[in-house]
Symmetry: C2
Subunit: 334 residues, 2 copies
């Protein structure tokens, strides 16, 4: 079988850069890598395995001969160019939310539901970062003892809003420290030494924002279990590129922290960081650049006397496992 031609759509974005890195580091088998971006970036070059590749402007002919197209340029680009890529014969792995709830599109975390990839009709969706980071450690627990409810409070990094938001966090913080005024343009609120409820649109009907509802609906689809009761509070914190989450998880039957640790010790994509003695637990600084989800603070929830609830604290690189790495892992399944 000939090696595939792979395209990255949105190659210059925060996730695009990591997609290229992941393909290189994992030595993804390919015969050609095509880098696509807006006309503004066309003509610039990026380095892949020591060779310069010139970025091409995305257009309707960009996908001729492409076998796998990794999209990370926002939902509207995916909606327009995803079907064009499929028509040209490519399989699309889409990092946007455009197709995630489409019943014909598998939504895949390779550690959870790799078999779903087979049902694709041209497009496979990559879940939202917060969802992936929670589900990698929750799935092996769910398999052993069904999860009936979970409550998440997130601590989300700037990277989730793209490279410009990361830069805004750096620049806004620099200005704050120098006592200079700074007006944010990417995110709606001051970010230096501040935090705010996730800026996704809030549904006035139930009070949840879209980021929170993604966590609910994507979990149902990926786990294939829409009876799990889920609620989330999604918050942006002044951290650059790793998300953390405080999870309270209720199971069908009683479960102990020791059982959870046993299960997670051998779970793929999970690293336990839970040193009570040294007060060392998952931190963004340690999760950044790592493919694994760090899991710690594993304890019996003392607010549930039935012994069925566990609390956890997790951290994962938003750009890697939360986006680029998961997409490349999906491509590897193809």
């Amino acid at each position: 079988m000939a090696l595939p031609v792979v395209a990255i759509v949105g190659a210059t974005g925060a996730v695009g850069v990591e997609l290229l890195e992941c393909l290189e580091q994992r030595d993804f088998p390919l015969s050609e890598l095509r880098l696509l971006a807006s006309a503004r970036s066309a003509g610039k070059t990026m380095t892949f395995k020591g060779k310069e590749i010139t970025i091409q402007a995305l257009d309707e002919n960009s996908f001729d001969g492409v076998n796998i197209a990794l999209f990370s340029a926002g939902g509207s680009i995916s909606k327009v160019y995803g079907p064009i890529a499929v028509k040209a014969g490519a399989v699309v792995v889409d990092n946007s939310s455009a197709f995630r709830q489409d019943p014909n599109v598998p939504l895949v975390v390779p550690e959870v539901n790799p078999e779903a990839v087979k049902q694709h009709q041209g497009i496979i969706a990559n879940p939202n970062c917060s969802t992936i980071i929670a589900l990698v450690p929750l799935w092996p627990l769910h398999v052993k003892n069904r999860i009936t409810r979970f409550i998440a409070a997130t601590y989300q990094a700037a990277s989730g809003a793209g490279a410009a938001a990361m830069e805004e966090l750096r620049e806004g913080t620099r200005a704050y420290l120098e006592g200079k005024p700074f007006t944010p343009t990417v995110l709606p609120h001051p970010y230096a030494f501040n935090l705010f409820s996730h800026n996704a649109k809030v549904d006035p009907a139930n009070g949840y924002n879209e980021e929170e509802m993604k966590m609910v609906k994507e979990t149902w689809k990926i786990f294939g279990d829409a009876d799990i009761r889920i609620s989330a509070t999604c918050v942006r914190v002044p951290v650059l590129r790793a998300h953390s989450e405080a999870l309270t998880v209720e199971f069908e039957r009683p479960i102990t922290p020791a059982e959870v640790k046993d299960i997670l010790a051998t779970a793929p994509g999970v690293r336990i960081v839970d040193d009570v003695e040294k007060n060392y637990f998952p931190m963004p600084v340690d999760a950044s650049g790592q493919g694994d989800i760090l899991v710690g603070r594993i304890r019996q929830d003392i607010s549930d006397p039935s012994g069925r609830s566990i609390q956890l604290f997790v951290a994962g690189d938003q750009l890697l496992k939360g986006a680029a790495l998961n997409a490349v892992q999906i491509a590897e399944l193809l």
Copy 2:
């Protein structure tokens, strides 16, 4: 009645500075303000109502003639000098955790249990910041519909670890932005664009840290209801002086967000910041310098089909309502 002589123990600390500010801004009636600190700070001056007051080194004779002593110099100072101040005839309002669980010491949030002040035997304890910030909005709800369980995930500021931690956050961040190495000395982990599980000691028996257990036990004592099931995840985020908390609150009977808003609209010490349309909710930057606890994201918890659970997001100034202001309010009750 003669106006009282008031002493601040730990006057130069992060909370000490705010105590002085609160006394001035609230025009607290006093005949003399005595500023006490370590020998290192003795001789320096601080300004109160336009007059310079010379800081005195704390010793066994510091409390002669003092009627009210506001302590904020750590638990070990409180344990040694609190009883000395009481013996000298002062009423101690103690900001440390030294006496909070002592059955002879009232633990007071003026909006919740002001009447408890009367039972003092010389010492009144000021609760932990995270507890106060949660309880000011939860109490008026609890009165109307008993709270049976709550789960908190906190986003705690540097100020909770004192002025040196705030400076370490600033300096560590500056170093990070300049690409320079920085070794933290006040807090155990890197703080710039990072977060970490609260550095209080973790109990190996149940996996909760002392900060989290304070929230449980102090709530029980202040509310006078040890049947409320509580669990917390306490996290330090790179914010300077206001704590935020994501709260999931279960009530005895069904309750709606509209009822919660109605109750909180007239609750003392609470300001509702809940603009769904503008995506504007409580933020540390807005809570800083404010006496009120900001409350928003008021919504029915969609993970509890019984309709008895509400989710909230709150923010409060850790140094003011979380510490100094609450202590001064207690002193006003005297």
